[in-house]
């Protein structure tokens, strides 16, 4: 099982994401200009400031050559995991519902927050099965544009489809996200994006290790369902 982590011009958490993946399995960097996904089993769109976040975060990156292949990969059921800027890219690309708006505070916020797992029977959260629904993970957020929004009909659809996988714990919403949404998946369940940075919660020396469960979940899912 191998992760591919995309590097756009301006990405800055891609090495951290790669290191986090490597704590659970193999990982390699995918260059934005290449269409070849090198046969990876899951794609991570990492955090950072692709194309400087100019215009709108994710708006320019989603048209890069590698994204053509990632979009095709996702349409075929491949596992795609977007973190922060990666979440923004996936929303802009139409692979995930909603959009990310400027934080209600208008400021960048870097903060350790608790997120609540809403569903543990997914490709991205199955390692939380033991704690079950309601499991709390302590993971940092760091962004200026993290306020998830969907118009009312879309929100209904997302909620009734059980697409919200992570919510900020009560009272800890750092950005004014609708319904405390911290991370959503697509209808098919193979694409997931979240604002918190699980790759920065993988080492006891630097903080919590709760983020590791998301990477381990993907590895276990892919190993059981796809790679096998």
């Amino acid at each position: 099982m191998r992760f591919g982590v995309v590097r756009f011009p301006g990405s800055c958490d891609e090495v951290d994401a790669q290191l986090a993946c490597e704590r659970v399995t193999d990982a390699t960097i995918l260059w934005h200009g290449d269409r070849d996904l090198q046969g990876v089993d899951a794609v991570v769109i990492p955090g950072g400031f692709s194309y400087g976040d100019y215009l709108r975060p994710g708006a320019i990156a989603r048209f890069s050559p590698v994204m053509e292949s990632v979009i095709a990969f996702a349409r075929e059921g491949g596992i795609v995991f977007g973190i922060c800027n990666g979440f923004q890219v996936l929303c802009e690309a139409g692979l995930l519902p909603g959009a990310l708006l400027t934080n209600a505070s208008l400021r960048f916020v870097c903060r350790q927050v608790d997120v609540v797992v809403e569903d543990t029977a997914t490709a991205f959260t199955n390692a939380c099965r033991e704690g079950g629904r309601g499991t709390r993970l302590s993971i940092p957020v760091k962004h200026t544009t993290g306020r998830w929004y969907a118009p009312p009909e879309l929100l209904d659809q997302v909620e009734s489809g059980g697409q919200v996988l992570l919510r900020y714990a009560p009272g800890q919403n750092p950005n004014g996200s609708l319904a405390d949404v911290a991370g959503v998946r697509n209808e098919a369940g193979n694409v997931f994006g979240l604002m918190p940075h699980p790759e920065h919660a993988v080492d006891p020396l630097t903080g919590s290790v709760d983020g590791l469960t998301l990477f381990a979940s993907i590895r276990d899912h892919v190993t059981a369902h796809v790679a096998a």
């Binding site: 215009l55 708006a59 320019i60 959009a99 708006l101 400027t102 208008l106 306020r147 879309l154």
Partner: protein
């Protein structure tokens, strides 16, 4: 000949616009009364060979239709106050 155009992009009605609100709160504090409905959006100005391409440019890149409305304006005709 290129045409200079402006694309005015604004947050869709009903979506919280904290920037607009911050301006609306700040103005009275500076002594400016009688201001309402402030919204902050984006102004994109560009020269184009073929203005007919603009709506597609907007849909594809310049605007996110889920959260933003837009309007295309000829730069040269927009009346200055």
């Amino acid at each position: 000949m290129m045409t200079r155009v402006r694309v005015l992009v604004r947050p869709k009605a009903g979506i919280l616009d904290p920037q607009g609100q911050a301006v609306e709160r700040a103005l009275p504090a500076l002594g400016f009364a009688g201001v309402a409905n402030v919204h902050v959006g984006r102004l994109i100005e560009l020269d184009v060979d073929d203005p007919a391409q603009l709506p597609e440019m907007c849909r594809k890149l310049l605007v996110n239709p889920l959260i933003e409305d837009y309007e295309i304006v000829d730069a040269d005709v927009a009346p200055a106050r």
